[in-house]
Amino acid sequence: MDTNAGRPGYNASLAVFASAARTATPTAVTINNLSGKALQLIVDVTAITATPSITVAIEGYDVASAKWYSLLGSIAAIATAIQRIYRIYPGATASAGLTANDFIPKTIRISVTHGDADSITYSIGANIT
């Protein structure tokens, strides 16, 4: 997604997942991050039916092993209509599952895992600086 994300000197705002009602885990989104160091990820849940649950993951890519590694561990599941903002940037005051004192690497991946098939409407936006 958006190979200009984090173009030197510029901020970027990306619609990682447009708002939609979903009942299953969507395909993860990979972001080619040219030079951004900081990420705000905004998960906005606007409607739920029954008892859905989603868990967001933010990962970096290692070219040597072709594996992904966590940039923000222990993210709690979301089960209500709520806006939650995750932050990763150098110098941040860490808060478990919400904010990490770290930088984001060249290739990052945003994924959402659904805990069940109940409907949940959400969008995810990313601000990269």
Binding site: N33, P90, K106, T107
Partner: protein, 132 residues
């Protein structure tokens, strides 16, 4: 290998050491960083054999100055299991022993992997560089 990764302003990803089975410390060329403020170093161990084999390795990341003086930036803990180990170094980091160093990188980075014995172990080392 790895000559001047870290083009000014840009992030970069490099393979320091491709995955392979090793029984002794490998030779790893120094990395000259053109422009970098932080690194993630990923040590990915995928096979340690079966008992009684008991390999053990320690990754050390050092800075080498213009006088070829080596100073340790971060030394990991011994790795003995199949695992992905991420080490972080950047100026605003919150230090965590054997995992995260709050430090500057310098221009030349050196990676060393010490093997505690000659039991084979399969691993790779990757590098993610945050441009300035």
């Amino acid at each position: 290998m790895g000559q001047y990764p870290g083009r000014p302003f840009y992030n970069d990803s490099q393979t320091v050491l491709a995955s392979g089975s090793r029984t002794a410390a490998p030779t790893i060329a120094d990395f000259l960083l053109e422009s970098a403020q932080g690194v993630h170093v990923i040590l990915d161990v995928t096979d340690v054999g079966e008992a009684p084999a008991a390999p053990s390795i320690i990754l050390t990341i050092s800075s080498v100055d213009a006088n070829d003086v080596v100073s340790t930036l971060l030394a990991g803990a011994a790795v003995t299991t199949v695992s992905t180990n991420v080490y972080r170094i950047f100026p605003l980091a919150t230090a965590v022993a054997n995992a995260v160093a709050r430090d500057l990188l310098g221009k030349k980075l050196r990676f060393a992997v010490a093997h505690d014995n000659t039991d084979p172990i399969v691993y790779s080392i990757g590098l993610n560089i945050a441009g300035t």
